[in-house]
Amino acid sequence: MLDTAAVPDVGDEEILARFAIGKRAVRADGTLKDNELLPPPSGKLSVMRHLEATEQEIWDEGREVARLRAKELVGRIDLNAGECRRVDLQVIKAPLVADPPSKPEPQRRLANPNHADLVFPTAAAIPGTLLPKADQMAIAKALVANSFRVIPPPMDTEKKTPAI
């Protein structure tokens, strides 16, 4: 994993993992559904940088995300940062610090220096608002169409996601 004290900006050549959580995230043919790449109201979509992370660390983070959502980790897709920028997304580093011990255990999050955000563009006509929905959908479709199928988590290291 990256050194929390010196997290570099995200380079175009970097690979970013987006975890697929819950069975509804994936189609019957193994591709990710478009709406998994639509942004929440904040306009920021979480991804994990592969940079200096082992496969084990990437999957551990996926299981952590699934645990926090009390759903099953179905897999991940890997996106190229430059490809995300080509469809007008910003890719910015956004390392996560661990929640304080005072936070209740089930919701307490571990640190993730490899966390980054895909930031959707704002509408030129109305500053501060996201692009029209149809344009957001087109971006998500382009990313999904250019990505490979969802990679399932390795069975041998699979941990059961505890219910919250």
Binding site: I21, N35, K133, A134
Partner: protein
């Protein structure tokens, strides 16, 4: 399924009663309508049931753990009306909640033969398709209460997607 599912998931308040009524209406539609004789997914569930279950998964705020808005029940009602308004030759779509509180219907034949229609507030249908290298998109207004039929262009695009 539906009324007991509602009680299990939503308790006995006014919202639960509204959802229960909606579920009963859905069951009636499934019995009466040709559209709802269509089925969706490998389990061959009636499409009204699968849409209802998809909506139920996204009916509470932060259902995705990333700050998603709850999808209001009226989006599901509009989705059902839209599916009913389409010619029966098209297969049933898959439904899912969007993080901005809209409810999406997806007709998917392949990575570059698909359309998603996202049902938003005020009868707005945001849509984006990917057909080969074409990525048309836009917004329609649809008000089944006012007697609107399904947008003609949706039928045309579905015709392109499902042309053999």
């Amino acid at each position: 399924m539906s009324s007991s599912l509602c009680r299990k998931q939503f308790g006995a308040g006014p919202d639960a009663r509204r959802l229960e009524r909606l579920a009963v209406e859905n069951q009636n539609r499934q019995r009466d309508s040709l559209t709802f004789a269509r089925s969706s997914g490998p389990s061959r569930q009636p499409v009204g049931e699968t849409l209802f279950e998809a909506w139920a998964d996204s009916s509470k705020a932060n259902w995705d753990g990333e700050g998603a808005r709850a999808v209001p029940p009226d989006r599901l009602q509009t989705a059902i009306a839209l599916v009913e308004d389409l010619p029966p030759r098209f297969p049933a779509p898959e439904g899912c909640g969007d993080r901005d509180g809209d409810f999406s219907l997806e007709w998917y034949r392949g990575p570059r033969r698909n359309i998603t229609v996202s049902i938003g507030a005020g009868g707005l249908l945001h849509w984006a398709a990917l057909i080969g290298d074409d990525d048309p998109r836009g917004t329609w207004r649809y008000s089944p209460e006012a007697g609107d039929g399904a947008p003609e262009m949706l039928g045309m695009i579905l015709g392109r997607i499902y042309r053999s």
